[in-house]
């Protein structure tokens, strides 16, 4: 990873110096070693402050919208999963391809500091990866944890090391976390509950929501310039009136607006300060789209029409989606 960081800094400086791009999107150090934040640099001198390690989970592709509007050619460092977001933005005509210089950046899974802390590591000074293990250097000595146990949840459903869009690749791909299970297992579990249980589950989950809109702001599919949630007369009036109905409404609307465009990057759930399992709403739509309208992966390319802007004459009837389901009272 340190090697890649050096390459990233070097490449960013080169691209800026030779004038290929006007701006580079990457990550820089945050307040702590584990909260690296997105960074935009526009001069080669600044590139040495860029960082890349196992704590750079942020997907940078959404910042391309603004740079595309400004008409500035921008280089962006993309982990394999981030490239789906760029394709989706291209498909939605939110960014211009000629203004994007995509650099594939190898990733072997990002770490979750909350999981490391929960595993009992106190006084953490630094964290490094050693093969399948994570070495946590703490004030009380060294602690080794299995890497698979401290990966971010989104990395547990890794879509693989392939870049879906890239103008160049920074380095040889790294081995990514292997995911073999059923990614819809949890969705199926909820579907199997009774209507009352489902209602109770979502009520307890969604009532945690503080309406900070972080899930909306981070989402590469949520790219409207004017968002319905910012309109004062929207039916989900806002935090001041929030009751549980509005929270349900907010989350149904948010998930529906990205249905068929959600790439499953898992950023919404990662940034949620309340730890709401938002991915379960998005995954439900993905599962439904796959089963009702045929297999579809948003962002896998930038041409295939999205499921909600296309149709087949023999699509299933709407009512069939709930036929045979238990009645709600």
């Amino acid at each position: 990873m340190q090697k890649i960081e050096k390459l990233l800094q070097k490449r960013a400086a080169e691209l800026l110096a030779e004038g290929t791009v006007e701006r580079v999107l990457a990550w820089h150090a945050g307040e702590f070693f584990y909260d690296n934040a997105p960074a935009a640099v526009s001069s080669a001198d600044e590139c040495d402050k860029l960082v890349y390690n196992e704590f750079c989970p942020a997907n940078l592709c959404k910042y391309l919208i603004e740079t595309s509007h400004a008409g500035k050619k921008t280089a962006v460092f993309l982990k394999p999963c981030d490239t789906y977001g760029v394709n989706q933005l291209l498909k939605d005509n939110r960014i211009k391809r000629e203004l994007v210089y995509a650099i594939g950046t190898p990733c072997s899974g990002m770490l979750d500091i909350k999981k490391i802390k929960a595993a009992g590591a106190k006084g953490i000074i630094s964290v490094s990866v050693d093969g399948d293990e994570v070495v946590v250097n703490t004030a009380y000595g060294e602690k080794r944890l299995a890497k698979a146990d401290v990966l971010l949840n989104k990395c547990l459903m890794c879509k693989g090391a392939a870049y879906k869009i890239a103008d160049e690749e920074l380095a040889e791909p790294l081995p990514v976390p292997q995911f073999t299970g059923d990614k819809f297992a949890k969705v199926k579990e909820i579907e199997a509950m009774s209507a009352e249980e489902r209602f109770a589950f979502w009520q307890s989950e969604l009532s945690k929501c503080i309406r900070c809109n972080a899930c909306r702001d981070i989402c590469p599919a949520c790219s409207c310039e004017q968002c319905i949630f910012d309109k004062p007369d929207t039916p989900v009036a806002g935090k001041a009136y929030a009751d549980e109905v509005e929270e349900q409404m907010y989350h149904i609307i948010r998930a529906f607006h990205v249905a068929g465009r959600c790439t499953g990057c898992g950023e919404c759930a990662r940034v949620c300060p309340q730890g709401i399992h938002l991915e379960l709403l998005n995954m439900k739509f993905m599962k439904d789209i796959n089963s009702f309208f045929g297999q579809y992966q948003a962002g896998a390319d930038s041409e295939t029409p999205a499921p909600q802007v296309s149709f087949k004459q023999n699509d299933p009837e709407a009512n069939s989606a709930v036929e045979g389901r238990e009645q709600h009272v």
């Binding site: 009352e196 209602f199 979502w202 039916p235 529906f256 439900k284 004459q313 699509d315 709930v322 709600h328």
Partner: protein, 145 residues
């Protein structure tokens, strides 16, 4: 909650201008009876119906919502109802997933010539909603204030 026998459900029906609304007219001309609790909202096409309309109706106190459009293949705008069908399939499935109102929302296709069918669909739906009772799960509490 109201006694079920006295319970008069509030039902919102989104009907497209070209088929279903004309179907409602047909039901009237043919003197086919359907319940007065059904409040029809005319829309240019079933594709005009934003899922938010449905949620909003529930939020503001509807006990049931039904969306009617031209039969697939008969859309006045050729393809509107195909898009509407996909959208509503996903919405229905999501409402069911959240355990809120999957049974209270229905999509039916009624053509301009099907006045009797319109009345039949509405009678069935009103009966179904009356049996389910009041919608409390997706209702804006402010409506009661």
């Amino acid at each position: 909650m109201l006694e079920k026998k006295n319970f008069e459900p509030k039902i919102v029906a989104f009907c497209c201008n070209w088929c279903s609304y004309a179907g409602a007219d047909g039901a009237g001309t043919a003197r086919k009876h359907y319940p007065a609790n059904i409040k029809i909202i005319k829309v240019p096409c079933s594709c005009r119906v934003n899922p938010l309309f449905i949620l909003r109706a529930f939020q503001r106190g509807a006990d049931g919502v039904i969306m009617c459009g031209c039969h697939p293949g008969d859309c006045h705008y050729s393809t509107g109802n195909y898009y509407a069908r996909r959208r509503m399939t996903l919405l229905l499935s999501m409402l069911d997933y959240l355990g809120v109102a999957g049974e209270r929302f229905r999509v039916e296709w009624v053509s301009a010539a099907e006045g009797a069918r319109f009345a039949q669909v509405m009678n069935d739906f009103a009966e179904h909603i009356a049996a389910l009772g009041e919608n409390v799960k997706l209702r804006d509490l402010r409506c009661k204030k």
